[in-house]
Amino acid sequence: MEAQKVDMFIMTNAKFFESHHINSIRERLIVLDDSKWPMISTLQLKDPTTSLIISILAGSLGIDRFMIGDTGLGVGKLLTCGGFGIWAIIDWFMIQEATREKNMQKLQQFLY
């Protein structure tokens, strides 16, 4: 793909990924076929900030985990009142990273 397109993608979507992933995403996108561009450019990614807000407001019910797609862990949080409240607090700090990892997993389906 053209470097210009790739850089535009990186610029607009950098906040959705971990910083150490961005370089490999860029390298991978450059060698990728142009036919995949429509799919990649319209990919629905989860905003880490939104999941942080949800985690603070409704983390004890596990809704943050449900939202990013970790349904099993969400059920676990729901059944234990947010892991006795401790897991809910831990997730305030973990959920953004988890969201970015989920976004990376989503993008990886198209990259490889």
Binding site: G76, T80, A88
Partner: protein, 137 residues
């Protein structure tokens, strides 16, 4: 954090261990002690959460009061099953070096994401929550 077999098993192990310690702690405490409350929502908002009362439910289950446990919180049954089955399943998996529990977990996750199963279950949880609030657990 990509979930793999060992990560899931450590999460389940820590969860079960915390659950058993908590149950032991509550069961050996005096019943009337009001400070024994884990729930964050109940402390801050004074409203019981969907799974409030599951400790009391499990404790009455261990005493053999099955209907009482159901009336306090039906989720107690589900938590009891998880607490009993998952450690045994995990030990079996670790001994035989398989990952049947992890595969089961992924399959359940796949089904729970489907709206056909997710929407009724969400309704059940919400109804249980409303019931909890009216019971004033």
């Amino acid at each position: 954090m990509t979930l793999n077999r060992n990560k899931l098993y450590s999460i389940i192990f820590i969860g079960c261990l915390a659950g058993y310690i908590w149950l032991y702690y509550v069961a050996t405490q005096s019943q009337t002690d009001p400070s024994v409350e884990a729930c964050f929502i109940k402390h801050t908002l004074n409203i019981p959460c969907p799974s409030c009362g599951s400790t009391r439910s499990i404790i009455s289950l261990t005493k053999g009061h099955f209907t009482e446990a159901l009336l306090i919180n039906p989720l107690g049954y589900l938590i009891t099953i998880i607490l009993l089955v998952s450690p045994l399943w995990m030990v079996y998996d670790i001994i035989t070096k398989r990952k049947t529990l992890f595969e089961f977990y992924e399959k359940m996750e796949y089904y729970l994401r489907k709206p056909v199963y997710a929407i009724p279950l969400i309704f059940i949880v919400i109804i249980n929550w409303i019931w909890n609030i009216t019971k004033e657990l």
